[in-house]
Every structure is written in C-alpha cells, then in structure tokens.
Symmetry: C2
Subunit: 479 residues, 2 copies
C-alpha cells in the first residue's frame, strides 16, 4: 500500500477513479454515471462471463424491472431481507397505481412467478436462464461501483429436477466466477460458504468468492445460492416427474455485479493511479513519441506501423501524438492504468530500439524494434499473470492464521494500527452460534467472510466462546 492509500484509502479510491475518468456522481442519491473507460471494463467482464454461461448451456432472457408488492410477501425471508432497501413506483401516467411496484433488487420473485407457468414436466427441466440487468438497493452508505443505489449485474436463475443437480449448478457457477475473477481481473479469491446470518435472503445455502482489497477490507465478489424448494413452494413451481407425480423444482440463483469494477481498482491501483490487468484495460498499449519527434517524421512513421501491427492483432492500442510533453503524457496514461507504454525518440530509432514500460514495474526495458510487437504481446500476457501473483502475495501476507481468541484479534488490530499496517483477514474457528459471530462483529467490526473450501489451516476452538469449533472461517472487515 502506498502513502496516499494508507492515509485515506477511500479518498485515494474516489480521487483515482474520478481522475481516471471512470465515473461521475449524479444528482440522484447513490446513483453514478459509468463513463466509457469505466463501462468498458464492465463490457470485458460481461463478454467473458457471458461466453462461459453460454458454454455451460445457459441462455439470456429479460424480465420486467417492476415487481408487484404482493410478490415479495410470498417468501418471508426474502421480503425481510430486501424490503428496507426498496424504491417504489406509486404513480404512472398521471394515476395512482392500485398496487405499489418495486424496482427489482433481484428477480427471484418475478422469475419464480413465471417459472411456475413455464415448467410443467420433467421434460422442461433444467431451466438455465441468465439476465443482464440494472437493479436497485437504496442503501444508506454508498461508494462508487462498490455499493450504489442502482447497479448493473447479471443474475442467473435455474430450476432443476432435484437437489443434487441444483447443488452441482450452484458450485459450477461459483467456479466460473472464481475463474473469471482470477484470470480476467487478476484478483485472487477465497471460495467458500457463507454463514447462515450472511446468507442471501431466502437461500438454503449461499456460497461466495471473497477478495481482499489493498486496505485489507473484503469485497464479496460473487455469490451463488442454492435455494432448495423455498421459492418453488412460495411460487408453486412444480413439475410432473416420470412417475406422474407433482414435485417442487430445486432452484439456484447467482450473481456478479459492477462492484467488480471497483474491486479491480482497489486491488491493483497505486499512488500513480489505476493499474489495469491487460485483459480488461480499455487501452492496453500506448505509443508515445519522445524527444524532437516532430522534426523526425520517421518516428511517427515507425509508430504508425507498430500501431497498425498491434491493431491487426486485436490489441487495444492508442498513439498519443498530442502536443503535451512526454512527462505529462506518461502521468496521464499511468493514471488511467494503461498496462504497457512504449516510447520512441530519435536516438532510440537510430539504435533500432524502443523503450517499453509495464505499468506495474519500475524499470523501462529496451526492445529491438523488429521484436517490438512480439515483446508487447508477451508483456501483456506476463503482466496479466504477474498482477495475479502480486495480488496473491499481498493477500497471503495479510491473511493471518495465528489469531485464536477475541483478545488476540483485538491485539492484532491494535498492533497493526500501531505498525501502520493493515489488519487484513484472520482465519479462525467458529462454533456455529450466531451470537458468537455477532459478538466478534460488535467488538471488532470483523465479520465472517466465508467458510473456505480449502482453508490453509483448521481451527479447533471458537474465536469467541472458546468451545469446540464447527467451522474454520475467514473474518475481516468488509465493504
């Protein structure tokens, strides 16, 4: 973490995304405008997710955004969880509506209602549908990308013949999330199960991938829910099985959202601004002429050539031939997190060389011009995996397994602050009692992130009560 980040991470974050032109605030509370450079990161995430959803047999559909109030009443956990955050349409076209319509916070209810009509027989199963949509949660504290009143997401909604198949789907989608977030966004995640108190409102089981930001706080980067027959019962979604008997379907839902954009910034960004993994960077390479390049037309000719070659390979390249000084340009493109910068000046050209700099490394390297395109291509690949490794190393460093009591946790937090270090996450035991989880939160602000599938250690006692532990759990502060 850099100085500026350490002083006030949120301030650093907001200034960085504004300077890098990713978003703007709007007059509507908690709603942001996604500017092109911010939105394009989302487009790359969408493309990769969508490809994988389709490869696994899912198809996209679109459901109404407005949900009748009565729908929410049908599943009691669901309404309890979401009703505090709903915006309501009460009038339309000059008339008061008979029933209020909520702006969807998620679509289980509307989709449950429709699936009850679409699903009649085992032949209709599984139903594997995804939706890309805007959703609304009117939350008190908002932060651009990470928590906004309106956000963009995808929500998968599937229906299955039995629990086994539905649970398999739940895991399959969690795995896809893990792969995309690690491979595309270079963000390492811990996958695991949420504790009951952190479950999705109406789920039997919720699974998540959890990512550590540079301030040590957690972002829940994706969730996948096994809903059992709860929504099937609430919305009467039944099928006739092969024995001619009516059975409730087992449903799942799973989602990732534009908070992934915020996570990329918070995981990779530094004092100079954004650091974008090449696969999601709107501009992957910037070419900058330096020195008295205007007097040497050969420089721009060469850069035009490189530009064309990179373009032909599908690389997102920009050539900055504006009138600003090289230093100004370097700052500007670093701020925007462009992965690779190439400089070419008269002396470089004489030596048949160019300078190449990766955004996350401090040294420039000389590259023979004939090898330049190839070297850039290779660097984009290398940087993609290097960022993941750096983020993994950072996370390992701040994932602590030595904390086994509330006292130790309090001390760990105090020590970290004293050492100007972040407290990170701790892996601790938990007896399974909601009250223990609640007390840890009340005392330390650390909440359970998830019960990891592959914990680096197992814990025998509960961090709060010291009794026998049922689960080994990641605890941390969360966004």
């Amino acid at each position: 973490m850099t100085n500026q980040q350490q002083n006030d991470f949120t301030k650093w974050y907001i200034e960085t995304i504004q300077k890098a032109d990713l978003m703007d605030y709007t007059p509507v509370r908690g709603c942001i405008a996604f500017k092109p450079d911010g939105f394009e990161i989302w487009e790359h995430i969408q493309a990769e997710m969508d490809r994988r959803f389709k490869e696994t047999g899912h198809r996209n559909a679109y459901f109404p955004m407005l949900i009748p109030e009565s729908f929410f009443q049908k599943e009691k956990d669901h309404i309890e969880g979401f009703s505090p955050e709903l915006p309501w349409v009460t009038e339309a076209a000059g008339e008061k509506l008979e029933e209020r319509l909520a702006l969807r916070p998620t679509s289980e209810t509307m989709i449950g209602h429709l699936y009850s009509d679409w699903i009649k027989s085992y032949r209709d199963l599984p139903v594997l549908i995804n939706q890309w949509a805007n959703v609304f949660r009117w939350e008190k504290k908002t932060l651009p990308f990470i928590r906004t009143s309106e956000f963009l997401w995808q929500e998968g909604h599937t229906a299955h013949i039995d629990e086994e198949e539905a649970r398999k789907e739940t895991m399959q989608m969690l795995n896809i999330y893990k792969e995309v977030v690690e491979e595309l966004l270079a963000i390492p995640v811990y996958d695991g199960q949420k504790t009951p108190s952190e479950r999705f409102a109406g789920a039997v089981d919720t699974y998540s991938i959890e990512a550590m930001m540079k301030d040590g706080k957690a972002v829940q980067a994706g969730t996948s829910h096994y809903l059992g027959t709860k929504f099937a019962e609430a919305f009467d979604i039944k099928y006739l099985n092969k024995e001619n008997k009516h059975q409730h379907v087992h449903t799942t839902s799973w989602g990732t959202s534009t908070r992934l954009i915020g996570s990329v910034i918070m995981v990779h960004g530094d004092e100079q601004g954004l650091v974008l993994p090449p696969r999601v960077a709107p501009t992957q390479v910037v070419l900058i002429p330096v020195g008295p390049w205007k007097k040497n037309p050969a420089i721009m000719e060469k850069l035009d050539e490189v530009y064309a070659d990179l373009k032909a390979k599908g690389i997102r390249v920009r050539l900055d031939d504006s009138d600003q000084s090289p230093g100004y340009k370097f700052n500007e493109w670093e701020l925007k997190g462009v992965p690779v910068r190439v400089e070419l000046g008269p002396r470089d050209l004489e030596n048949n060389q160019a300078l190449m700099k990766a955004r996350d490394e401090s040294d420039k390297v000389s590259v023979d011009i004939p090898n330049l395109v190839e070297a850039i291509e290779a660097e984009l690949k290398t940087m993609q995996s290097r960022l993941l490794e750096k983020a993994r190393a950072f996370r390992e460093k701040h994932s602590h397994t030595h904390v086994d009591s509330l006292e130790q946790l309090s001390k760990h937090i105090t020590d970290s602050t004293d050492n100007e270090e972040i407290p990170g996450w701790i892996l601790a035991g938990w007896c399974g009692d909601d009250a223990c989880e609640e007390n840890v939160k009340a005392e330390t602000k650390f909440t359970t992130r998830n019960i990891p599938f592959n914990p680096p250690a197992t814990k025998s006692t509960c961090i709060n009560c010291g009794k026998e532990s049922k689960h080994t759990v990641w605890f941390g502060r969360a966004y």
Copy 2:
C-alpha cells in the same frame, strides 16, 4: 398475407410469438418477459449495432435510470411530449422522496445535465456515447415487442462543435440503422424526415426508417434526431472554442429498440409461424432423422458428423433426435422459424443424399451428402437476401403512388377492404400545414410516416387541400 393473418393480424401475431416461445405476459401492465428465443434475436441485433457504433468511434456508457422531476422541466417540448407517459418513484427505503424520480423514457435530460460538466473546451468534442438500457413509457395500448411499458433499446447521445458536424452524425447513424435493418433483419425501409408534428419531443429535426408489416401497417424502426442547441441551452452545455468564446454544443440522439424483434415477425412470418432471417435466427439449421432411423445407427452417425461440421463453422445448429414423429418435428421447427431443415432417412443415406428445405420455400431439394455442409451454408446466405427481396416486392406492391386526394385515399381504402387487400401506404403531396396532416389522419387514420429522401415520384399538390405541395410524403397506418 395468409388467411389467418388476413382475418386478424394481431391475433395471428400474438399467437405466433407465444407458440414460438418468444415471450410471455407478466402481471405488470404492458411489461413482457423476453424468453430466450425472443431475447436471442435482440442479442444478434445488439451485436451488429454495437460493432457498427464502435467502428464509427462511439463508446458505451451507462447513466442512472431515475431522473429528477426538475430535469424534465428544463426543456418544455420534452416534458410536454413525455410527461403523460411517465411512471414515478415517490418512496424509497421507507421514506417519501423530496422530489419525484421518473423512470427514464429516454435520457436526454440526465445526459444533458452531465455533459454540461464533462464538456469544457473544443478539445472535449465530439462526445460520442451510446447506452444500452431499459426505458419506460406507460402507454395505454400495448402490444408485445412493438409497444410495451418497459422496453430495451440503445440511445446514442452525441455533442458536436457545430451544426454541420452534428447533422452529419445524425445522418450517419440513420444510415447505420438502415443498413442493419435491411442486411440483418431483411426488412426494407424507407428513410426520410419526419414532419414537425411527428418529431421527437425536443428535436429540431427527426429522421426515421419506416418498415411495412404484412398487414400494411408501418413500424418506425429507428429514429435519429438533430437536437440543435435546444438541450445545450436547457442544460447549459457550452465549450470554449479556439477563439476563447463560449459556444453551445450541437447535440444529436438516436435510438432503436426491441420493437425490431416484433417487426421481424410481422414482416416475414406466415401461416406456419415465424420465418427468421438466418443472421438473427437462434437456431439456423435443424437436422432431423426420418424413417426407421433408430434401427439404422448410420443415420445418426452421419447427422452427428454434419452437426459437428456446421458447429465448427459457427453455424447455430440443432439435432432433433427426440421421440416425436417427423411430422411433429417439422411443424415445431417451422413454427420457430428455423431457416433450414435437413432430413435424413435410410433411403436417403443409401443414395448418399439428404433433403434440405428452406423455411420460406415450398420445395425440398436433394443434396449429395458430401456437399451438404456447403449447400447449407450457401442456402443460409441465399435465404437471407431472398427474404429481403420478398419483403421488398411485398412493400413495392403495397406502396401506392396513384392517390392524390383525400377522396381518392378514402376510395383506395374502401376498394382495398372490398378486395380483401391491404391498403398499404400511399405517396402523396403535402403543403406543409399541420392542419392538413391532422385532417388526413382524422378522416382515414393514415398518418405521415416520413418525407422520403428518394421518393419514387414527386407530387405537386397537397392531398388534403390541393394547394401546391411542399413535400412528397409517405402516408400509412402505423403501430
């Protein structure tokens, strides 16, 4: 037009899209669910439009869906045009809002507000942004895809240094719409200018592409607006020009929506169901084993091979090896509008041949199996252009240029009805007076579609008042 279509086109349309599983009604007034086969048509349209937008330098962004009431007050034509159709959020998270928030019917106001902040200097121009989004217009009469309370669309919003550049953009986007609708959807359109009474609320000039459905009614398939400095003045969007003077920008907006899905059905569908142009068909080819195929494993082996070859070429193919009879399957896939069907039975295999049928042609053709994949590929291309030609021929037949007075128009309509023919559209003169346009509508329900850029004839007198004509205009009934 087929018998069923002639008896009640709307009934045919609704039954067809429901049987073909494109949509479902929902309990929210005028809001439909887009089922996967319906939504996929939209995905193909999106992909093609988006590619062309990006090729012409546009980038995507996303703006808040909720628009403060005060924003609408700033441009008086705009609020007059849209306020009767707005749904309003008045409460959120348990509290009454201080200011009502409209669900966007279109985003000129929100975007105008933000552009006034984003644009400072001529260096910031042009701004070329597009948004894919859901929008709301609470209309009284709805029809799936064609007119729904919530629909999906794209809306481009650009800002330019002067009128010339903005008008060029307006035309460029109209041309892209024309090309995509003709080439991808095989729907011929007339491009031209809207009359003042049919302009977008707040536009200086509106241009449209107009398509004729099989019942002779018109669908406005896309619009592009030159907004002049009207929104720039309302939202104070100014830039410092090279002479250091503040100038208002000139803006444009342009949109196409999911009504294009409905148009494809209404232009190409027939008595048997959908007829989908290959480029937007979710399934382009269906392979069906016939005769005692289960006893002849060689049949499925061959079809598997063909399936794999087609798949490898990126063709969207299905192999129907369900237990239903061939006749049932033929009906089912015809209903869904699959462009090409291939049948293979024991005798065909013996002769090393398969039968191929294009959805819009009545005859099956025999194809040597070694040439099958190639023949299918060729047929998909041929069918794509054949559908456009058929639709063009239909439109020419029902585009009338012989009607020059209101009396003649009334007679034309009566004669058409008597002959069980559709009245189609008429090309007539117009003096430019709103009252004349209004009277034609009141007397005949024919409205001005647009003033075509390349009319097939020019007209010297106004169809209503007989005075000198200023414009030659397409008139027709519209959705």
